[in-house]
């Protein structure tokens, strides 16, 4: 392990050379930053992973059932398990997707499930990301560099090899492919995640394409290669729904493929992930995921949600109002990190204001307990310190099976008072080791 720590600088230099960066929006401008890598891995034992793995697969399977149901029969709404408003008021619900059956019925092919481990040792799911979760390339490339710097470390520790991600991605694409080549669709080289797009395309043996390389004719998606047009059977797109087809969604999009929706509707191309998945990963729907697992799979949820309360339920409402100063309140209508309020940070009058807003618009909010999650050690200027960290696990769903990648992206926050200059805001990442025994 010391061997690895000694190589921290070299590994980070290599990562910078590869262009391992991430983009953040700050004060309305877009900035790219290096993503600092900390060599101390998060370690998950074989036994612990077995529980996580089963729980992740179960959760993603239920979410896929939910998406199939919402854009199809809507049984879960008719049976009153999920209130209609939570679905139809969600900005991620897309009426143009009504009635479309994606190839093999898979909606969320690549799911990023964000978890934290509580001080009680229990893993809690904080968020499901079913649209275009990013970040798998970071631990993938970092692992490669670590192995090169310190082969000894990996000879002596029984770490499950995670370098099969490209193969898993390829299998997932192949299993839903409608006949034709696999394509990774990127907004272009100026996108902050372009490195990841090109890296994953290479690892999965897919063609990296931009809008100008693709066109839809006769309800079929084609890639314009030097040999002529080639039919595309599966497209792993790294562009948001609203920009994908200017003739169906946002008309001003210049990075989309006109009439892609026509090819998709005709069943001639698999789109990874499907359009309209945002309805299943919204803050309000999160509350219902354990209920979905029971409803669709007839199983008890293996993974826990953070304890969540809905103001539309009388008992929950009373609890929320009694504990407003210790809960996190989330505005269901807001996306990303917006509309999240910690009760403990509010003044008395702000709390009163929030209380009134919740009473006026109970459907707009959910409330959650603040999870006291475990700190992980990181090396900071040669000293070991403790920092908050989460884990994004990647789950891949193909036509036949759902698998959890035995790795993941562990992100940690840096102390804002620390005097490290190059990434004071964004935090860094670690490798995630799953032990084989």
């Amino acid at each position: 392990m010391n061997d690895l720590i000694r190589h921290e600088r070299q590994i980070n230099q290599q990562l910078a050379r590869y262009g391992v960066r991430f983009g953040i929006y700050k004060n309305g401008t877009f900035q790219e930053r290096l993503f600092p890598f900390d060599t101390l891995p998060r370690i998950i034992t074989a036994e612990e992973w077995e529980g996580l793995r089963k729980g992740l697969i179960q959760r993603v399977n239920a979410l896929n059932c939910f998406l199939r149901d919402i854009y199809g029969e809507k049984r879960i709404l008719a049976d009153g398990i999920v209130p209609e408003d939570f679905v139809y008021r969600s900005p991620g619900y897309l009426p143009p997707c009504e009635g479309i059956k994606p190839p093999k019925g898979v909606y969320s092919h690549i799911s990023g499930i964000d978890l934290v481990k509580g001080k009680d040792g229990v893993w809690y799911v904080l968020e499901d990301n079913l649209r275009i979760p990013s970040g798998a390339s970071y631990p993938l490339i970092a692992r490669g560099l670590c192995r090169r710097c310190s082969p000894e470390t990996f000879r002596h520790n029984h770490v499950v090899d995670n370098r099969n991600y490209g193969e898993l991605l390829r299998r997932t694409m192949d299993s839903v492919n409608t006949g034709g080549i696999n394509v990774v669709f990127t907004p272009g080289r100026y996108n902050a995640a372009y490195f990841e797009h090109s890296y994953l395309a290479e690892k999965a043996g897919a063609v990296l394409a931009e809008a100008g390389d693709l066109c839809v004719r006769d309800s079929t998606l084609y890639y314009r290669s030097v040999h002529g047009d080639e039919k595309v059977g599966a497209i792993y797109r790294r562009v948001s729904d609203e920009y994908m087809d200017p003739l169906c969604f946002e008309p001003s999009s210049l990075i989309g493929i006109p009439n892609l929706m026509t090819a998709y509707r005709a069943g001639n191309v698999a789109v990874l992930n499907a359009f309209g998945n945002g309805v299943a990963d919204d803050k309000g729907i999160y509350y219902f995921v354990p209920k979905m697992i029971r409803y669709y799979l007839g199983e008890e949820p293996i993974l826990s949600n953070a304890p969540t309360y809905l103001p539309i339920d009388d008992k929950d409402l009373k609890y929320i109002l009694d504990h407003l100063d210790t809960l996190v309140i989330k505005d269901v209508a807001e996306a990303g990190g917006y509309g999240v309020v910690f009760g403990s940070k509010l003044t008395k009058s702000q709390l009163e204001e929030l209380r009134q807003t919740i009473l006026d618009k109970p459907r707009r909010f959910i409330a959650q307990e603040v999870i006291d999650f475990q700190d992980l050690p990181i090396m900071d200027e040669g000293k070991q310190v403790e920092r908050k960290a989460d884990l994004r696990a990647f789950v891949l769903s193909g036509a036949e099976e759902t698998v959890a990648w035995p790795s993941g992206l562990t992100r940690f926050s840096r102390n804002p008072d620390s005097f490290i200059v190059n990434s004071s805001q964004g935090g860094g990442f670690k490798d995630t080791w799953i032990l084989s025994r």
Binding site: E84, D85, Y88, R89, L94, P95, P96, C97, E98, G99, I100, C215, V216, R217, D218, S219, P246, L247, C248, P251, P258, N259, T262, R265, A266
Partner: protein, 258 residues
Amino acid sequence: MSRLLHFNYDVQLEFSQPVQQHSFVLRCLPPNLPEQQILDLSLVVDPAVPLALQRDGFGNLLQAGRIDQPHSHFHYRVRGTALRDDTRRGPEPCHPVFRLASSYTALSPEMKAWLAGLTLPEAPRDRAWALAQAVHERLTYCPGATGVSTTAAQAFAAGQGVCQDFAHIYLALARALGLPARYLNGLPEGEGASHAWCQVYLDERWVGIDPTRLKRTDESYLRFGIGRDFGDCPMERGLFVGGADQQQTVFMRVSAEQ
């Protein structure tokens, strides 16, 4: 009373310079419905290219295609005959999205205040009609004052617009009153241009209201698309490569036999 409608709908787009790689989606065909039986229908597109005939998420017929070659005109022509009979319309389900505001129909504070100042009857059917009267009175019909991307709030602030704006404003207000309502476009009997109107969901049935003409719709209306607003069912949407100006000429005629 049932009516046999013969309809012609011609649209010609002329480009000042040739354009190419032209992808388009048309929603310019009337669907076959209990109250609207399509007896005869043709669509001709020039330049001729293969068309994908599909239904969108709202059940609208759509026709998609692509013209790769340079071309300086795009012409589509619809001909057909429909038997309209509103007595054949039965109860229908209502998709919950028609209860909610949509991108074109978000309510502005100004609209909200105006709505609060109206005295409307309690019974939903009367309420729906009284609202149409109020909207019709509030707005001035004025072609050219608004565009295809004008929202209900913008048109309301301007106090004027065309059928699309009348419909959007009506939908925004009706939904705010708790009446599910949807946007329709198609052809009314007569000559001129295509039209847009609304339907309100009352007693499990969709009831047509035309706030522009202040009319309960009848068998003289031929329906093409439905949606939450214009954005869900434009009759034509296209994208091409080329910096040309375009000029559109529309010819429409619907004549009736009783």
